[in-house]
């Protein structure tokens, strides 16, 4: 504490009495001295001593030894002193629980004080003392304070309930504080309402399904009224809470939007962003042709732009959010490009974010301006920023075709600057431009080749080598250039080695006469001297291909490549939707779901946008919603857990599957390029080419050893056929036809369609994997996110052979139900991550609940009766199944195939009543009564279950089974 001793001198000189002197204490016997002072009779001296104690506490010294002495000072009329003692108590009570109890009396007494400020202070502080014994005594004062006549006390008590809940949730529930808190939402004072909302929202977060924040049109109306009257902070609490509500229809949605829009003019940016969140979410429900929809879109732009004139830290938060908004609704800001131009004095974090948004907004209309800007930026000082600017120019070229030529010439100008990292970055993006516009800009190759020596980053080297290989016929000294790289082959990174191998093979195929030696050299380097399996494999494949059928090799290696897409860095749509629901929060700043950075159960609820207006989902929404499928949890499903976070952080290695030891982390463009040489190589083989056997036989001698680890291709084929047969196996279980789960567009060429089946008690996920890209896919692995019923792969994904372009493989993956459990919305939702050599892809699909109906689901009659009576009537749901032309027996047989067992049948007045039972894998029983009237194609189905949210899904299974 050097500064402390300086101030000590001041004190000695008798200068102005200031608080800073408390930061100084003589080091020896300091505690002892303080003790004496704390026990002094003089009030002033006591107060001075407490101040010193607090100062020591601040700088991290342990002054807990003074606990009894400090607590003794608590009984005082001096509010300032009292507050200091309280501050001390909050810090040390936990370490001295027995002593802390000494304070209880004072707290209880203070809660009765005539001065509301003291009552509030007492209840506020008590809630911060995390000692069980104190908590017990807190309940009574808290109850009184929640009903205090003074709003200041009530608003403090409301927050205290959240504090208490954090210490002892059960106690809060038992004492009925939650109901009192709910009542406070109707309080006459807006600040009380706001704090109650904040407290309830927080408590509800740790009980995702508790239905605590029972938001209905009446409460929403109260909140909207309070919104106009409360403090800026209160408005934020209320808006954040509103964002969790899902309006019943577009009309309600519109009326809420109308009442929220005035908030867009608030001076507090957080109020504005929270209002934007509510609007972005509720807009989803408005029909697009509605006038109001257009008005709303127009209203959103100005406040977003205004956020950019806030302080830099807030600008950063705003820009991260705008990045999401622009991806979700590009139309909002499409005319506002200029405001994202970088200012010279912007902090670097603001600059980088602005650049991102500029690229997203770039279009034919504004591209000239954007390019001029980007060129300016490329001459700046900050390396990261300059690189990003150069990359941005490349992205503009790919995104806006009309600008490509100008972009290329700008990039060439930049290469002329000879600034090392600018040149490297430019070459990487030019390669992408070549991919997008083949045979257009190759004239620049000569310029690029001049810079070969200055490239020291793997990505730039790989890009340059690709260019040389791809255009070998136009570069006179291509062989020399490539040979120069070959010298240090083993020192190169894998990315460069793979690229070099492919490039030399390309060169050989184009100019076979002069380069035979070179190709042999690289093949032997790759296959014999390398430890890298990827490199070796690729080397062998080329070797074999070249030695058996050079013509085929040419077709394969020099095949035409698919064009690369415009937008490669968009956030995955489901994640984007979730992040939109978190606008303004940390999640939107990190662009990660809360579960990725929040520990424990708090705040990890998966948020989704409401279904789009007029979409099938909302049209089909069941009118039987009285049991509210999403509201109460089944007892077996733990409420906490995380979702996408798991998917994001997941280690994709499946239990046993082989995973390549080297995982080059490359950009998509580069990845495609790598695969370029392998195009359709194995596809031909598996397609049943008669020369296959011969081809294998003629492989180089080193081949068997190298492939020893992998199963023979033939074996893989056999497996495939087996699986193909398995799909149609007659088991009585109705299998829905495969649906498209993952379109090729979203997964860099991998298309997955699939369905679920239950065969002989085993749950299987049947998938067809199709490779629609131009490169071979290997190293498949699969993982599920936690889901409602703990579905998890029971083994690795068996894709034994690489998947070549245009090939489809059917795979059947056995599933277990012993995986981690977490409630999903909807209940039967399953989030899947599939990995291959290219990337990790995510999709979600829904399984029929009948998948989980176990074979021993037949209940004893007596048990059935007792259970039926036992389940409260509230849990009963009724459904109509229409247009079924089966008699009751046929229906019963059909249902039995799907493990829905008929226990009893009764016929009353021409009406058959079937009593049926189902057991789910997690031992939940579902009981059903199906009424079938002869001659009436409509069945009535009543379902009873202790976990009523499954009823809806059980009903769907009935319908599915009976109709097919």
């Amino acid at each position: 504490m050097e500064w402390a001793s300086q101030l000590c001198e001041n004190r000695g000189l008798g200068s102005k009495m200031t608080d800073s002197k408390y930061f100084t204490t003589t080091k020896k016997g300091e505690i002892f001295e303080l003790k004496a002072e704390l026990n002094s009779d003089k009030k002033e001296k006591k107060k001075e001593a407490v101040k010193k104690v607090i100062a020591s506490m601040t700088v991290g010294k342990d002054v807990s030894a003074l606990f009894p002495d400090v607590v003794n000072c608590m009984q005082t009329d001096n509010l300032e002193l009292k507050k200091l003692v309280y501050l001390y108590l909050m810090n040390y009570a936990k370490s001295q629980p027995d002593m802390a109890i000494m304070a209880v009396n004072t707290f209880v007494k203070d809660c009765e004080d005539p001065n509301p400020l003291i009552r509030a202070l007492a209840v506020r502080t008590m809630g911060c003392i995390r000692v069980d014994k104190i908590t017990e005594y807190l309940c009574e004062p808290l109850r009184k304070c929640l009903k205090d006549e003074d709003p200041y006390v009530r608003k403090t008590a409301a927050v205290c309930v959240a504090k208490l809940h954090d210490i002892n949730a059960q106690l809060v529930e038992d004492q009925g504080f939650l109901d009192t808190l709910k009542d406070l939402i109707s309080d006459s004072n807006p600040m009380v309402v706001a704090n109650a909302v904040a407290a309830l929202s927080e408590i509800a977060e740790s009980h995702p399904n508790s239905n605590l924040l029972d938001l209905n049109p009446q409460t929403i109306n109260k909140l909207l009224t309070a919104l106009n009257e409360c403090t800026e902070w209160g408005q934020i609490f209320i808006l954040d809470c509103l964002a969790n509500y899902t309006p019943r229809d577009d009309r309600e949605s519109q009326s809420i939007c109308e009442r929220v829009t005035p908030r867009l003019s608030h001076a507090n940016s957080a109020v504005v962003l929270s209002a934007v969140k509510v609007l972005m979410k509720f807009m989803e429900m408005l029909p697009k042709d509605l006038d109001y929809y257009g008005t709303l879109l127009k209203k959103l732009a100005p406040p977003l732009v205004t956020l950019l004139s806030a302080e830099p830290e807030l600008q950063y938060v705003a820009l991260r959010n705008i990045n999401l908004i622009v991806q979700k609704r590009p139309e909002i800001l499409k005319h506002e490009m200029k405001v994202f131009f970088v200012k010279y004095n912007d902090p670097i974090y603001v600059k980088l974010e602005k650049l991102d948004i500029m690229i997203r907004l770039a279009s034919q209309a504004n591209i000239a301006q954007v390019l001029a800007e980007l060129k300016e930026y490329a001459t700046e000082v900050d390396v990261d920023f300059v690189r990003k600017a150069v990359r941005a120019i490349g992205r503009c070229a790919i995104k806006v075709e009309q600008s490509a030529e100008r972009c290329v010439s700008t990039l060439l100008d930049l290469i002329q600057t000879k600034v090392n990292y600018v040149v490297q970055e430019a070459i990487v993006v030019i390669k992408d431009i070549f991919r997008k516009y083949p045979n257009k800009y190759e004239s620049v190759i000569a310029t690029l080749c001049e810079n070969l020596d200055s490239l020291d980053e793997p990505e730039a080297r790989a890009a340059m080598i690709w260019i040389v290989g791809e255009y070998a016929e136009r570069i006179d000294n291509a062989d020399e250039l490539l040979e120069s790289f070959l010298e240090g082959f083993h020192d190169e990174s894998t990315q460069v080695q793979l690229q070099l191998l492919t490039a030399i093979v390309k060169l050989f195929l184009k100019k076979p006469t002069e380069t035979q030696e070179l190709v042999q050299q690289v093949l032997s380097l790759a296959t014999q001297d390398s430890d890298n399996p990827d490199l070796r494999d690729r080397g062998y494949i080329y070797w074999r291909l070249l030695s058996t059928d050079p013509v085929a090799a040419k077709e394969v290696v020099l095949a035409e490549k698919p064009l690369i897409s415009e937008e490669t860095d968009l956030i995955e749509p489901t994640l984007l939707e979730e992040l939109i629901c978190h606008i303004g929060t940390l999640a939107s700043v990190y662009h990660k779901p809360p579960s990725a950075f929040v520990e424990g159960s708090r705040g990890v609820q998966h948020r989704r946008l409401p279904p789009r207006a007029g979409s099938v989902e909302s049209a089909e929404s069941p009118d039987v919603g009285q049991s509210g499928p999403s509201e109460a949890p089944p007892a077996v499903i733990p409420s906490q857990g995380d979702l996408l976070g798991d998917l994001l952080n997941l280690d994709l290695a499946p239990p046993t599957a082989t995973v390549p030891s080297v995982q080059p982390s490359m950009q998509m463009g580069a990845m495609d390029l790598l695969g370029g040489g392998l195009d359709s190589l194995l596809g031909g083989d598996i397609g049943g080419s008669p020369s296959m056997g011969a081809g294998l036989g003629a492989a180089p001698t080193a081949m068997p050893a190298a492939l020893g680890g992998a199963p023979p291709v033939g074996g893989g084929l056999g497996d495939l056929f087996d699986l193909g047969g398995g799909v149609g196996m007659p088991t009585g279980f109705y299998v829905v036809p495969k649906t498209l789960w993952l379109p090729a567009m979203k997964a860099k060429g991998l298309e997955i369609s699939g369905t679920f089946a239950r065969r002989g008690g085993i749950i299987q996920m049947d998938m067809s994997l199709t490779n629609k890209a131009m490169s071979v896919m290997t190293d498949f692995a699969i993982q599920f996110n936690r889901n409602s019923f703990g579905l998890a792969p029971a083994g690795p994904l068996q894709v034994l052979t690489p998947l070549s372009p245009n090939q489809t493989i059917d795979v059947s993956l056995p599933l277990s139900t012993s995986g981690p459990v977490m409630k999903m919305e909807p209940l039967n939702n399953l989030q899947v991550a599939v990995k291959n050599n290219i990337d990790v892809f995510y999709f979600s699909c829904q399984f029929p609940l009948s998948l989980l109906f176990v074979e021993d689901g037949k209940m004893e009659r007596q048990v059935f009766l007792a259970t039926w009576k036992d389940i409260p009537n509230d849990n009963e749901a009724q459904f109509q199944i229409k247009d079924i032309h089966l008699n009751s027996d046929a229906a019963s047989n059909k249902l039995q195939g799907s493990n829905i067992f008929t226990i009893a049948k009764r016929t009353v007045e021409g009406q058959d009543m079937l009593y049926q039972s189902i057991k789910l894998t997690n031992s939940i029983w579902v009981l059903a009564e199906m009424r079938v009237q002869t001659g009436n194609p409509n069945y009535t189905l009543s379902i009873k279950c202790r976990a009523p949210e499954v009823c809806q899904f059980v009903y769907q299974c009935y319908e599915m089974v009976l109709k097919n």
Partner: protein, 439 residues
Amino acid sequence: MIGGLFIYNHKGEVLISRVYRDDIGRNAVDAFRVNVIHARQQVRSPVTNIARTSFFHVKRSNIWLAAVTKQNVNAAMVFEFLYKMCDVMTAYFGKISEENIKNNFVLIYELLDEILDFGYPQNSETGALKTFITQQGIKSQTKEEQSQITSQVTGQIGWRREGIKYRRNELFLDVLESVNLLMSPQGQVLSAHVSGRVVMKSYLSGMPECKFGMNDKIVIDKQGKGGTTDDTGKSELGGSGKQSIAIDDCTFHQCVRLSKFDSERSISFIPPDGEYELMRYRTTKDIILPFRVIPLVREVGRTKLEVKVVIKSNFKPSLLAQKIEVRIPTPLNTSGVQVICMKGKAKYKASENAIVWKIKRMAGMKESQISAEIELLPTNDKKKWARPPISMNFEVPFAPSGLKVRYLKVFEPKLNYSDHDVIKWVRYIGRSGIYETRC
């Protein structure tokens, strides 16, 4: 919500540490110091995640304020709160400096206890806080006074207390604008906008209802349609004589009834006592650019640069611009500079790598010029000089956006003074924001 709040000095020593949540431990204090304050690299983000703990920070002179959390908090709110915290501290004890913080640490703890409860921001209006956080003790208050305090802190009009009395009812309106420009070397406007603020100082008795009117295009057009003619709009200031201006967006102090603005576009409010910011706005159309900068940079060989800059003032000749400063950046390898200017004083400042040209006053429709010869040291640095833009500072006595105050009406039905009795002052000041011309 916010889990804790720390204040550090420039060395990273903690001056204030207040923890609100159990999930934040003492080690968080050190984590921020080690990873952010003592980090070798420049700060790359105002939000830092260290071991699943998020730190938000702002800096005021050399003081660091950091808010800590482990939850998914409203990030915008945390920053707004940190700024507010700075405002409150400034209102209580002036500049935020290490000395002031140490001298007032008890007060700061008391404030932190009041304005942040369990990490939730509470009423943080200085006007209200000063009524009961005084460092004097509040023992002497009567019951009525106490309930007045609590109802103000929690009330709908949390920013104003009842029973204010002035002998002379007076109000001051300042229209403060900052005009921002980015111009290409060829004189093309790349971007220009005005961000303006209306700051009000009110010394009014009672609970006055105020209504503020300006030449907002939407309002004027509406009135035009309604058939009522307006007497305002004769612009006596520089630039075009436009009647109304298009406001891109505006935000208001929390005293303004936003729903009323949204539906009728009228600005009505009960003002706080004393000084506060009534509104902020932004315009981009028809901006009067008070100055035009015409740069000419010529490289003469590898060791010499010739720079000529002309500035032209573009407003009514009767008006005077003040505090004019033109900053012409020079390359890092500058060895010497010779400057000639017609007006004002110009100096080469080696430490700032710039020629700074200052002119005290300049009337409208005038022109002035500076020329400089910059000698360069030969370097083998391949990298070209980045040529930062020429920036400019100035102050002009009009609003570059063209905004005019049309009226500010005051009604106080309970007290016997009328709108006519209130003395009103309006002042316009236009300042340069980021006013840059590339060269």
